[in-house]
Symmetry: C2
Subunit: 438 residues, 2 copies
C-alpha cells in the first residue's frame, strides 16, 4: 500500500472510555464475517462498477480519443454538479496551480470547472474563457441536471462561445445531453450505468478534464487497481478500509459519535475534502425502516484544513459535545520546498528553536499536538500518511474511502448508492419555474 | 436595515413539531428580558470593543496612513491564522476577483493571504510575489502565533523578499511581532485589546489589507454602525439577531439540534462561510460547570454553497438525523449579469421552460425548493436576503452574527470570547519542536 494507515487512537486501550474495545470489534466481526463476499454477490443489484477497474481502464481509450480531438484547444470548461465535478477538482488541485476558486492551469492550458449555479460566476467564466480555443464539456449522468443544463445553455448561447466544440459526458441515452449530442453530432463520453455520480472519480467524468491538464490518468487507475484486492478482502486484520469502517460503525452506534472531521494538513488536498464530504454525506445519510419504525442514520462530514482549523474548529472539537471522530491526513514530506529557517532576527528570540526547521516539520508538530490534545479528551482519531501526491497514491486514497463506505452500508443495512430525498427539492424548483411567468 | 430577515420557518406553527413554540419563546423572553443590558453592563469585563465602532472608525486614520506609506507597492502578503485573516478573505472575495484559493487581484494590485502553514503554499507565494513592490504584513493579536511567525520568517528570509517593507498588525507590546517592529522600525497597526481575534473583522486586522485592494472600508464601518442600535436593542420583536439567538437557543436546548448549516447561494460569499464557521465554533463550543458537573455545549457550524450542496449535503440533511438548523443566504438580484436564456436547442426540448429565465432566477427557485423540502420534514430554516454585496450590507451582516453570538453566550452562561482548549495543542507542538533535534 502507498498510504500508511494508523487506527490505534480509535481504541479504548489508547484513548480511554470513548474508544472502541476489542470485545466490540470481535463481536462486530462475528456478526459480519464476510462483508465483501456479501457486497460482491450483490443481491440488491447495486451499482458496483466503481470496483470494475478493468472496465474503467478499457474506457481510457475513449478518453484519449476525445482528448485527441481537442488537442489544439487550450481552455476546457467542464460543467457539472456534485459528483460530476468534485473528483475532477479534488485531483486537479493536487497536480497543478489553482488560478481561482474553481480553475486550474497547466502550461498553456486552463481548466475551468463550473460547479455551482451563480450568474456572476458564469458571467466571469465567459469573460475568462475568451473566444478562442474553448471546449465546453457538460457532465451529467442523467443528462437532465437542471443547473448543468442551465449553465450549459447560458455559456453556449453567448455569441463568443456559440461555435465552441462540445464534448458531452453522460450516461443516459434518453437524457437531454445525449439527445443534444445526437442532434448536433457532439462526441459523447460515457458515465457507466453501474457507476453512481459520487463514485465516478475514476471514470471519464473526471478522467477527461484531468487528461486535458496532462494528468497521468492511467497511473491513477493503476494505483486504485493495485490497492483493490487489499481493500476488498474480508480480512479484519489487514484491510485498512474494513478496519476503519468497523471502528467508525462502532463509534457511531455504541458511543453516539455523529460527526466525522477530516483534518487535511496539505493545501493541495483541500478540494479532496469536498469530494470526501459528498461521499460520506450522500451515501450514509439515509432513512431506514426497523420494525416499521423510521430510523434516520448518517454521520455529518466536515473536512477542514490544518493547521488553520486549529484556530477555528478545534476549540469546539475539544470542549464542545464529544461527538466528533477526527481523521488526520498528511503527506510524508521527502523533499523540502524551501530551505530550513535560519536564525530568527532580534525581537523574535523566543522563536530561536525554529532555527534549522522546515515549515513542513512545524506543520507536522502541529498535527501531533492536535491529535494528542484530542486524545487527552478521550476523543478518537486516525491518521493517514500519504507517501506523496502521485496519482497512484490518490487512486488508492479514493478507493480506500469508497470501500469503507460500501462496508458501512452493509453494517447499517442501507443502500449507500442512492439519494432519494433530494428529488423533491428538484421537483419543487422546476414547478416554481414552470408556473411563474418568465 | 439592509438585510431582510425571515425567521418564520423556525416556528412550530409553520413547520410542525420540531419548530419553536410561542410559549417557549415567551418563557425565554421572561427569563432573559434584558440580555443586552446585561452584556453592556459587562460584569465579567468581556472584550466588547467590537461594539465600539466609534473607536474602530477612529483607527481608520492609522490604516490610511499605513496605506499611504506603501502607495507605490503592488503586492501585499498578509500572513495570519484564524481571525487574523478570515474576515479579510470573506470581504475581499465579495469585492474583487479571486486569482487562487487565497489571493485576490484589483487592477495592478494583488493581495496574497497566507492563512495556513503549508510549505508548498508558502514556496508558491514566494514565486508569485516576485521581487518588486512586495509588502509583508504579519498579523497576530498576541504577536506570538507559531504558524504566523514561521511563515513570516520563511518569507522574509528569502533573498528576494529580504528587503521588502513590513507592516506589523498586533495587539501585544510584549509579543514577538511588536518587539520585532521596535527593533526594525517597522510600522505597527493595532489590534485593540478589547477586540478578540474572531471579532476583529472591522478592525485594522482586515481593514488594512482590504484598503490596499481599494475596498471602501469607511462604508463597511458605516453599515455596521447604522445597524448597531437595532442589533443591540432588548426588543424581542424587532431586533433580528436577538430573535435568531432566541430561536437557535431553544432549538438547541429543547429540540436537540446540534448542527447549524449556512446555505450560501452566492459564490462571492463562499469565504464568508469560513469566517462564520469560526465565529460559531470557537465562541459557543465550550465546557461549563453546572452543579459541579462538566457540561459541554456548542453547535457545529457547516457553511455550504448552494445550489451545489443540494448535490452533496442535502440528502443527509433531509434523511439523516434531524439535528440540523439551516440558514439560507442570498443576494437580492437587481441587475442581470447575463441575458436571459433563449430557446433551448433541439434535444433539450424538455427544458423549454427555461426560456426567458435568468440564471439567478433558477438559483432562487432551487433555494425555495430546498427550503420547502426541509420544511416538509419539519426541519427549521431561516432566510437572510442581502440587498446587495455593498460594504454597508456586509458591515450589517457581520454585526448581525456577532451580536447573535453575544446573546447566545448569555443564554448559555458561557464566555464566548475565549478559546481555552486550544492552548494545549500549541504547547505540545512547541515542546515537540524544542525537544527533537533540528
Amino acid at each position: 500500500m502507498r498510504i500508511t494507515y494508523d487506527f490505534t487512537w480509535l481504541h479504548k486501550d489508547a484513548i480511554g472510555e470513548r474508544g472502541v474495545s476489542s470485545q466490540e470489534l470481535a463481536a462486530l466481526e462475528q456478526a459480519h464475517p464476510h462483508p465483501w463476499k456479501q457486497i460482491l454477490q450483490n443481491p440488491y443489484n447495486w451499482p458496483l462498477g466503481w470496483l470494475d477497474l478493468e472496465a474503467r481502464t478499457a474506457e481510457l481509450s475513449l478518453v484519449r480519443q476525445a482528448l485527441a480531438r481537442i488537442e489544439n484547444r487550450n481552455v476546457l470548461v467542464t460543467i457539472g454538479m456534485g459528483g460530476s465535478t468534485l473528483g475532477t477538482k479534488a485531483l486537479a488541485a493536487t497536480f497543478v496551480r489553482q488560478t481561482g476558486p474553481s480553475s486550474f492551469s497547466a502550461g498553456e492550458r486552463e481548466l475551468i470547472v463550473v460547479d455551482n449555479l451563480d450568474e456572476a460566476t458564469t458571467a466571469e467564466v465567459i469573460h475568462r474563457a475568451g473566444t478562442q480555443g474553448v471546449v465546453l464539456n457538460p457532465v451529467s449522468k442523467s443528462g437532465n441536471t437542471l443547473e448543468t443544463i442551465a449553465n450549459f445553455l447560458a455559456l453556449s448561447q453567448r455569441p463568443a462561445l456559440a461555435d465552441s466544440p462540445v464534448v458531452v459526458t453522460t450516461g443516459n441515452r434518453d437524457g437531454a445531453l445525449a439527445t443534444y449530442a445526437r442532434e448536433t453530432g457532439a462526441p459523447v463520453l460515457p458515465v457507466p450505468g453501474d457507476v453512481g455520480g459520487r463514485f465516478s472519480a475514476l471514470s471519464p467524468v473526471s478522467l477527461f478534464p484531468l487528461g486535458f491538464l496532462g494528468y497521468p490518468i492511467e497511473d491513477l487507475l493503476e494505483g486504485a487497481t493495485a490497492a483493490r484486492s487489499n481493500l476488498t478482502a474480508d480480512d479484519y486484520e489487514s484491510n485498512p478500509s474494513l478496519r476503519l469502517a468497523a471502528r467508525l460503525h462502532l463509534l457511531a452506534t455504541r458511543r453516539n459519535f455523529s460527526e466525522l472531521m477530516l483534518w487535511i494538513y496539505c493545501d493541495a488536498l483541500r478540494e479532496f475534502g469536498r469530494w470526501w464530504e459528498q461521499l460520506f454525506a450522500e451515501s450514509l445519510g439515509k432513512q431506514k425502516q426497523v420494525a416499521s419504525e423510521t430510523v434516520r442514520v448518517g454521520l455529518t462530514p466536515l473536512a477542514v484544513s490544518g493547521p488553520a482549523a486549529q484556530h477555528s474548529l478545534l476549540q469546539l472539537a475539544l470542549d464542545g459535545p464529544p461527538n466528533k471522530i477526527s481523521g488526520f491526513t498528511k503527506v510524508a514530506q521527502t523533499r523540502a520546498e524551501l530551505p530550513a529557517l535560519s536564525h530568527p532576527p532580534r525581537g523574535v528570540a523566543e522563536f530561536n528553536y525554529l532555527q534549522g526547521r522546515h515549515l513542513h516539520e512545524i506543520a507536522s508538530a502541529e498535527l501531533e499536538g492536535t491529535r494528542s490534545s484530542l486524545r487527552h479528551q478521550s476523543l478518537p482519531s486516525y491518521l493517514l500518511i500519504l507517501q506523496d501526491l502521485q496519482p497512484e497514491v490518490l487512486g488508492e486514497l479514493i478507493l480506500f474511502f469508497e470501500t469503507a463506505i460500501a462496508v458501512m452500508g452493509v453494517y447499517l443495512s442501507i443502500d449507500p448508492y442512492t439519494q432519494p430525498a433530494v428529488e423533491e427539492s428538484k421537483q419543487l424548483a422546476r414547478k416554481l419555474l414552470q408556473q411563474s411567468p418568465a
